[in-house]
């Protein structure tokens, strides 16, 4: 199966049906996802809410091609992620997915610019690393090492790293979890502008319910399944939301 997914057709970025993930087996089995059915239109900003262990990170991992499903299907446009082998998943991540993590996960031995280059070097049509850093407001700090940056700056490097490859989708796992409110707000601002300016589908997993106000779509998770999906008719900007 060719993995040239440039020709993506349709308006639905992700569609899952009966998506199930079980860790372990027998008595020790943990059902992280219990048959999840969702549709995520392309270009939307989606926030996933729910308590710890509700399955939202597991869903993110599977949609991001980091983990495989136990059962059910997950489609990215017209490609079946659950049928892909490791090599294809690697290509999928390389070409289409940007990740932002709670703990930034920068390479401590590389500068901000080099951390971004780590991704642009293997991407098909990346933006310039310096440009990506300028976009997140770090133009002046591109030659600093992670240890020389604050938490918010590190997270913005991580976003620049995700944005630089011009991904189709961006997955953010608790992107503001380790940040204070002012810094968190600036990070969300960046994410919002990526979504609006570049048309990137952005999925954010968070505990911070307030973040939901800036989403197109809010998915509430509980106990391994979707409890409720809410569509916001009016979105707030990151500066407007209440922390």
């Amino acid at each position: 199966m060719g993995i040239h997914m440039h020709q993506m057709t349709g308006d639905t970025a992700f569609r899952t049906r009966g998506l199930t993930k079980v860790y372990g087996s027998g008595a020790a089995a943990v059902h992280a996802l219990r048959g999840v059915d969702i549709d995520i239109p392309k270009g939307e900003m989606v926030v996933l809410l729910g308590p710890s262990g509700s399955g939202k990170s597991t869903l993110l991992n599977i949609l991001g091609g980091l983990d495989d499903a136990t059962d059910g299907t997950a489609q990215f446009f017209d490609h079946d992620l659950t049928a892909m082998r490791e090599r294809e998943l690697t290509l999928y991540r390389r070409e289409h997915v940007g990740f932002v993590f709670q703990f930034y996960n920068l390479m401590p031995s590389l500068t901000a610019k080099e951390n971004v280059e780590l991704v642009t070097e293997i991407a098909d049509d990346p933006m310039d690393a310096a440009e990506a850093l300028a976009r997140v407001g770090l133009k002046e700090r591109i030659n600093h090492f992670p240890a020389q940056l604050s938490g918010g700056e590190q997270q913005r490097v991580a976003i620049a790293r995700a944005v630089a490859k011009q991904p189709t989708v961006m997955f953010c796992d608790e992107p503001t979890g380790a940040l204070d409110s002012a810094t968190g707000r600036s990070v969300l601002n960046v994410l919002q502008s990526v979504n609006q300016d570049l048309g990137t589908t952005v999925m954010i997993v968070t505990h911070a319910a307030a973040t939901a106000a800036m989403a197109d779509r809010v998915i509430h998770f509980a106990d391994g399944g979707v409890r409720e999906v809410i569509r916001n008719t009016t979105k707030l900007t990151a500066d407007e939301i209440e922390w």
């Binding site: 991992n61 991001g64 091609g65 980091l66 983990d67 495989d68 490791e86 090599r87 690697t90 290509l91 999928y92 991540r93 390389r94 070409e95 997915v97 990740f99 993590f101 703990f103 996960n105 390479m107 031995s109 590389l110 080099e114 951390n115 280059e117 780590l118 991704v119 070097e121 293997i122 991407a123």
Partner: protein
């Protein structure tokens, strides 16, 4: 441009530079030994070959008593002979005023005019002998140097019983006399052996050999069959006192040189694999630890879309950088050390030039082998990279499961306190790792023990030889066979307290297809001066009905006591005797065979003949005694035991013998490298745990115990491994290095292990101390913040 991943590689290397350097050095040491040995081996072989060729060293030597020159034509017609020359060679004594005893000399003739067709000489200083100057000589340069003699100096010598004053025209070198040993000596010694070249006319007159020769030299055609040539030559010379022709392989100087070169080849096969294996092991633990600590980064790279291959390639490059870096440094140092050593060898062997040559193959092999072993060490670990799925890698690792270390730990719980339990559980949890580290330290210790043991063995062997085997003060060799009456002459000399005769007969010993060209020494049945000893150093009583042979000889001839040995005498009427082997004697040097002297003489039908004597002397009267001996024309050579002991010890300290110092040094580096690396890794792995301990109220000492206790147990486990490894290595070295010229007994002393053990202990304490310093400097807060 370098990719971002490559930049990460450089920075990682920079961050782990101490460990990278430590491992790189171990690899380098392996490659140094490989390249150095190869360089030495090649250089010596090449230099030897070139030297031999350039100065046309003869391939066959046929000594005789007196052979008329017309025989040379017959000899030249022997199939396989390319060219032949006849020369006069005899023994003499050089009397130097500053030397107590006369010095043995070989005196060799040079043609009066025309080129020297075989065994040419290199005139290093001074000039050739002038035509018609019968008192002019060329002197072996190394001998002259050892005594401060120069062209123009005059020396006094005894030739064929007559005292002569000789003028040194020039100093010469020859491939024939690279290493020369005086009769009765154990080791070559420049000071104790002179070579004098004189004109043929002059020497012919001195030895009464006008129109005759006493040694024929041959070069052979390419398709010549050596045994057949030797047989034919022996037949032709049989009636002229031929004592048996021999090939270059049995020529003294060449044999020493060949053995030395062989020894180098052996070492180059034994040592490098050990170092490279240890380096592979070290790389394995370092990379393993690195991958463990970088699982998040690996997960991240995979999340970005780097394939397992690309990520593995990244870590593999890390390994390659260390391996290739180490190997390159090794090549450079190897060439440099090899060169310096070659210069030493050049002086030692008195080569007039040196062809230093390292086979490029050695570099390629060195680099390939380093890369290969390092890869082997790393590949096991890199499998883990493939196994990590990105999501799993992104989660912090689950706490190591110590529950399965349970079992016997239940008992441990009741006996030990909490910190001790932590130490023991950790070892029980990773027994493979602990054992691996112990294995590495053990290997280092074994290497130290084997090399220290080897040094002690040498010393012991020297002591044994001189205290148990040769207990005389002096050996005198007669110019020709003498009757036993000469013993009385010697006894009557003032200062001589004890005299014992010996007779040496050139023989070929045969057992089926195995043969050895050497000598049978006839001694008294129960001699006091020079004795054959068994492996417990008890004297063996010589028998009339059977022969006692040295251990290496028994091995070479594949014979054991009870079996019959053919003895082809190469002297007099050349009888062939058949005798059982009745005992095996220990020796240090050479491959002697002993028979009771009376029986030997009866078998040869030459009663009461002796070729020399062992003397015990009164120290207070030695000066006048030496003067008296110098004046005795029958004595062709005398060697003082104290001098020959000195020479032997020098031999063991120089050249190949000195390699063992290099080995001990290397062993020390390795032991320290492993202990230090293990301690560093344990510290890095556990700095977070240790900081936690500090935070909850453990003292620095208690915290250090948790880490260093583990190190201590590892070192203790290493000791038996080190002993086993040392014994094995010693056996291998003894097996590989013993030749029929020198034997290294397999008698490693317990002290060697003690010394090696102390070295391990010291390097452990030092490593522990360095890690303890790091631990005391541990920043508690930041250590706890780091996400593992």
């Amino acid at each position: 441009m370098f990719s971002a991943l490559d930049k990460k590689l450089f920075r990682d290397l920079g961050r782990m530079k101490m460990q990278a350097i430590a491992i790189g050095l171990v690899i380098a040491v392996g490659v140094v030994v490989l390249v150095m040995m190869d360089g030495l081996f090649n250089s010596l072989s090449q230099t030897k070959t070139t030297y031999y060729d350039r100065y046309r060293l003869a391939e066959v030597y046929a000594p005789a008593v007196r052979a008329p020159k017309h025989l040379l034509e017959n000899l030249a017609n022997v199939p396989g002979v390319d060219s032949v020359i006849g020369r006069i060679r005899g023994g003499g004594l050089v009397n130097l005023p500053q030397e107590d005893v006369p010095i043995t000399a070989a005196i060799v003739s040079l043609p009066d005019h025309g080129a020297v067709r075989l065994n040419d000489i290199y005139l290093a200083e001074g000039k050739q002998i002038e035509r018609g100057r019968e008192d002019q000589i060329l002197l072996l340069r190394s001998f002259a140097k050892a005594h401060g003699l120069q062209p123009g100096d005059r020396i006094s010598a005894t030739i064929n019983g007559a005292k002569r004053k000789l003028e040194i025209a020039g100093l010469a070198q020859s491939p024939e006399f690279l290493l020369s040993m005086a009769p009765g000596d154990l080791a070559p010694d420049d000071k104790r052996y002179a070579v004098i070249w004189m004109s043929e006319t002059s020497l012919g007159a001195a030895f009464d050999l006008k129109g005759a020769f006493s040694e024929a030299l041959f070069s052979l055609t390419r398709d010549a069959k050596l045994p057949e040539v030797l047989d034919r030559v022996d037949q032709i010379l049989a009636n002229y006192g031929g004592t048996g022709a021999y090939g270059l392989e049995d020529q003294t100087s060449n044999r020493f040189l060949t053995e030395e070169i062989k020894g180098l080849a052996t070492q180059s096969k034994i040592l490098p694999p050990i170092f490279l294996a240890i380096a592979a092991f070290l790389l394995n633990i370092v990379i393993s630890r690195m991958i463990q600590s970088e699982r998040e980064q690996i997960g991240l790279l995979k999340a970005f879309g780097y394939s397992s291959m690309e990520v593995s390639a990244h870590y593999f490059k890390f390994v390659l950088a260390i391996a290739i870096g180490g190997a390159l440094v090794g090549c450079l140092i190897g060439v440099w050390v090899g060169r310096s050593y070659a210069d030493l060898f050049q002086q030692y062997y008195k080569f007039p030039f040196l062809v230093f040559r390292v086979d490029p193959q050695a570099f390629i092999i060195g680099i390939l082998v380093s890369v290969f072993t390092a890869s082997a060490g790393a590949l096991f670990v890199l499998r883990k990279v493939f196994a990590l799925t990105p999501a799993v890698a992104m989660r912090p690792p689950a706490p190591a499961d110590y529950s399965r270390a349970g079992g016997f730990m239940a008992a441990v719980k009741r006996i030990f306190d909490q910190p001790t339990r932590m130490v023991l559980r950790r070892i029980a949890r990773h027994p493979g790792r602990a054992f691996g580290a112990a294995l590495g330290v053990g290997a280092g210790m074994g290497l130290s023990a084997a090399s220290i043991g080897l040094m002690m063995t040498f010393t012991n062997v020297v002591d044994q030889t001189f205290d148990y085997v040769d207990r005389s003060d002096m050996t005198v060799v007669f110019a020709a066979l003498r009757s036993t009456d000469t013993l009385n002459e010697l006894r009557s000399l003032e200062g001589v307290t004890h005299v014992e005769p010996f007779r040496a007969v050139p023989v070929i010993l045969r057992n089926g297809l195995h043969s050895h060209k050497g000598a049978v020494t006839g001694l008294l049945a129960n001699p006091q001066q020079y004795r054959a000893v068994d492996k417990d150093l008890n004297p063996i009583t010589l028998r009339e009905d059977g022969i006692i042979i040295a251990k290496p000889l028994a091995k070479k001839l594949a014979i054991s006591p009870g079996q019959k040995l053919f003895i082809e005498v190469q002297d007099g009427e050349r009888p062939t005797l058949q005798m059982p082997v009745v005992g095996v004697a220990e020796t240090l040097s050479g491959a002697p065979a002993y028979l009771e002297i009376g029986a030997l003489n009866r078998a040869l039908k030459q009663p009461n003949q002796i070729s020399g004597a062992y003397l015990q002397i009164d120290e207070k009267l030695q000066a006048p005694l030496y003067e008296a001996l110098k004046a005795m024309p029958v004595i062709a050579g005398a060697s003082l035991k104290s001098k020959s002991r000195e020479a032997f010890e020098t031999l063991m300290d120089q050249s190949a013998g000195s390699m063992r110092y290099v080995m001990s040094f290397i062993a020390a580096i390795i032991t320290f490298g492993i202990v230090y690396n293990s301690a560093r890794i344990a510290f890095a792995e556990r700095s977070r745990d240790l900081a936690s301990l500090r935070v909850i109220g453990f003292t620095k000492g208690e915290t250090a115990f948790v880490l260093l206790g583990e190190l201590a147990i590892m070192v203790i486990m290493a000791v038996p491994i080190g002993i086993a490894f040392g014994l094995g290595l010693n056996a291998a070295i003894v097996e590989g290095f013993s030749t029929d010229l020198y034997q290294i007994p397999n008698q490693i002393q317990p002290e060697a292990f003690g010394t090696a053990g102390i070295a391990v202990l010291v390097s452990s304490v030092f490593s522990g101390w360095m890690v303890k310093r790091n631990m005391d400097g541990l920043d508690l807060v930041s250590a706890l913040k780091t996400r593992e």
